[in-house]
């Protein structure tokens, strides 16, 4: 059986010549999330052609979403359910048709996707989105225009906080969520002559709305 033969060969190889590993240096301390966190995030997103808009109330966030939909000439949208129900987004997007999640074909031609980021890493501008019922993966992938809402309490220094984030979203059994995506800017490629083009398979634009209030 391949499995046992492979494992035996690996064990024999290491037994004959053990591999010792030096203790690495400690991980450099992360830059703490300070009062200027939104400015830091805006600065790191800017070279990625991602605009950060701040909202001080859910209504203001919904207004930003409506503005973005207009700018992107969106006719249809899809959004996460429970996580975004409280924002009044459907009223703000009343002129657009909302497409229900399902298989990817259902959303093949949707114009705008709305998700809530469970974390944003200030060092890289990465947004963490964790899939779950009512939080479909395609919402941040299939539409040409993507919008992520980022709560103030979700700001984290860097990707070293990924294990803690996954642990927080694990089931009581300890099972991790089936899918966590870190999204850092729009989909991009430089495969032809090293010329950067946005939106090769995923969204060509990404807008971030910072929810600038303390959660209760």
């Amino acid at each position: 059986m391949s499995r046992n033969a492979i494992l035996s060969a690996l064990r024999a190889g290491l037994a004959a010549a053990p591999l010792t590993v030096e203790t690495p240096p400690g991980r450099p301390a992360s830059t703490p999330v300070g009062p200027d966190a939104w400015a830091v995030l805006a600065a790191v997103l800017e070279p990625l052609e991602v605009r950060l808009r701040l909202a001080r109330t859910p209504a203001e966030a919904a207004q930003h979403v409506a503005d973005i939909a207009r700018e992107r000439a969106a006719k249809t949208y899809t959004r996460w359910d429970t996580a975004l129900d409280a924002f009044g987004l459907d009223a703000a997007l009343a002129d657009l048709a909302r497409l229900e999640p399902g298989c990817c074909r259902n959303l093949a031609h949707v114009d705008l996707g709305l998700v809530l980021a469970q974390a944003a890493f200030l060092e890289s501008g990465s947004l963490a989105v964790v899939a779950a019922p009512g939080r479909h993966r395609a919402a941040s992938l299939l539409p040409p225009a993507s919008v992520a809402l980022v709560p103030k309490g979700a700001l984290r220094p860097d990707v070293s906080h990924l294990p803690a984030l996954l642990a927080r979203h694990s089931a009581a059994s300890g099972r991790l969520p089936a899918c966590l995506n870190l999204i850092t800017g729009p989909s991009s490629t430089a495969d032809i002559e090293l010329v950067l083009v946005r939106g090769v398979h995923g969204p060509g634009t990404l807008d971030v709305i910072g929810l600038d209030w303390d959660e209760e």
């Binding site: 690495p24 009512g134 490629t189 090293l194």
Partner: protein, 464 residues
Amino acid sequence: MREMTTRNFRRQSAEACRDTNLRAVLDHATRYFQAKRGASLEAFPGRGEHFARARAARLNALSRLPDLLEELETNASAAGTQVHWAADAAQARAIITGIASAAGARVVVKGKSMITEEIALNPALQAAGAEVWETDLGEFIVQLAGEPPSHIIAPAVHKSREDVAKLFAEKLNLHGQSIPELTLLARQALREKFLAADLGITGVNMAVAETGSVILVENEGNIRMSTTCPPVHVAVMSLEKVVASLEDAADILRVLPRSATGQKMSSYVSVLTGPRGQGETDGARETHLVILDNGRSEILADPVLREALACFRCGACLNVCPVYQTIGGHAYGWVYSGPIGTLLTSLLQPRAETRDLPFGCTLCGACKRTCPLSIDHPKLMMALRQRAAKGRTNRFGAAHSLLARHPLAYRLAVGTARAVDPNLDLLPRLPGLPGLSEFVDSRHPPELKKSFTARHRTAKKGKP
């Protein structure tokens, strides 16, 4: 395009050297990647510590490889992923075509993956009746062209926009000129394939033993599409890609994108743990993980060369290598190219095929200085050379080396030989001198200059 093989590395390199267009493209590409990477690392506080932590994470994984693979198997299985073990490429192909057949897969979409190139998966799937689409833009281009990738992270770096426009027109009947137009055409063509796909196949950047997760790193979103839309996902990993923990994975994620493309983080990083959960509307319903050995257990047993398994394929060593900069990826004749490709190919392919590869290195050490994991490529290259030469001692070669250290004796010996056989083409044919022919063939002695009188005579004849 003539088929490239590792056995013909010498000839292919010589041909590539004469290709001035290729040189210009490679010069542009390698400078581009070096500049992006340099700027990114300059603004990376604590990079020395981060590099050391990433190296430790990789070496730690190698030092506990069998235990971690078992842990990975246990945790991936607990999450609902079906784990398969393949000793070699043939087994891996059989496993994956079996999964495709069971899924009734007619359309297969693939994320960029060197490992599936290594096992020559596409022809096997096609022979089983599936339509297979590479979905990374660069891979899509080289697939249409019928060529292998020429760079680990930029597979179609050798193609111009005109080449791509011609290719799309010929193969897809899609017409565009500018790079954004061509990219949009590829998006539209491949979007249909994603939506129709029955099976998605990707490689693995890391597999996390403690959680059973696979981590995939990309910029285009094609890997997300390949793991989100089709009902079945197969991830193929070479067995050294396991890491012990999410902490180790996070340490590697700090370094890998910066070293590969100069990005603080790639556009998309996916951490996938099992099939979609109950109540989720997308993502694969069925997930498979294929763990491939294909010669790596032998490499791990080698105390000198096992360091090559620490590589996480950022491709930085290619961009600084003067040989790669000159000949590009195809001349190496197999999947992997550049310094790390030379090492991997030499270790994974039959020795008779790869004998010349480690000798096609200048030992300048640029790769070692650039590698974020401090892999000592030149040291490994020397070890490979010694092994290639072992048991092949040629007494004429040894005598030549000895003479070369004593210029007067060298001149005397060569002068004597040339006096008897001016072009050194008769001596090797003499019976009773085994090894001389092989030695002379390998050295290609320079042609003897004509004597002064002969040149004078020729010059006089040529006068009007």
